[in-house]
Symmetry: C2
Amino acid sequence: MKEFKVTPIRNGTVIDHIECGMALKVLRIIGLDGDNVQSPVSILMHVPSKKSGWKDVLKVEDRELDPKDVDKIALIAPKATINIIRDFNVAEKHNVRLGDVVKGKARCSNPNCITNLREPVEPEFNVESKNPPVLRCLYCDRILDNIADNLI
Amino acid sequence: MKEFKVTPIRNGTVIDHIECGMALKVLRIIGLDGDNVQSPVSILMHVPSKKSGWKDVLKVEDRELDPKDVDKIALIAPKATINIIRDFNVAEKHNVRLGDVVKGKARCSNPNCITNLREPVEPEFNVESKNPPVLRCLYCDRILDNIADNLI
C-alpha cells in the first residue's frame, strides 16, 4: 500500500497531541474543511500517543498558522503542540497557550447576553480553567457551553 | 517526525482515488466525522495520484464498509476504489459502482416534489450520467442539485 507512506514535508505545520475527536474541528478553525484544499493535508485520528492514550494529529503542507488560529486551537485542544517545518526541519515548536482572558474569539452561548443583542460589545471571557478550558462570560457571568461550536 | 509514519493496517478498509475535496464527505457517509472514532483513521487530502492529478484517500482500521455506504460513496466519488484489508493483505479490491437507478439513498432537492410532501413515497432517481453522477428524479423530473448534501 505505497499510497500510505506519509513522506516528510518540506514546509508546513504539524499540529500534534490534539485531543481525540478534535482534529476535524481544528481543521475547521484553520479553514481547510471545504473544497479549498490546495496542498497536501494529512489527518490522523485516534492514533496511539506516547504521552498518554490516544491523540489526533494534523499535518498541513505549505502553510504556517495565523496566531489567531493558534489561540482558537488552544480553546478546543489545550494540549496541542505546533511544529513549524521549514526545509524539512522543525524550525519552531511550541505549545498552544491560553491566556487569562479570551476576547473576540468566541461568542457567548447565552442568547440574551448583551454581546448577542446587536450592541457593539465584543464578547470576552475570563478563563477559569485551562485544561479543559472553562470560560466565563465577562458580561452575563455564564459558563460558555460547547466552545468548539461557538468560535468566531 | 516519527508520529507520521502511517503503518500498514491489519484489518480495515482503504478508500482510494477519492475525488479531491470529497474525503470529509465520504467520512460523513461512513459515520466517522464526529466524536465516535474508536480505531485509527487516516485522511489524506490533495495528494498526488499516479492515475491523474490529485486525489484524497481514507484509511479506516477495524472496519469493513456496509454495501449501502459503498453505493453512497459512488454518488459523490465515482472513481473511488475500495480495498478491504484482512491480516495485512488486500483481501478484496473493487471499484465503487453506480447502477442505473438510485433508490432511497438521496432526497430530491425540489421541496415541492411528492417525495418531500409527507407521502409514503421513497425517493428514486434515474442515473443519467455516472461520472460525474447526474441523477434525475423519477417523480418530478428535476436534476438533483448537490448530491453530497442530499444523501439520506
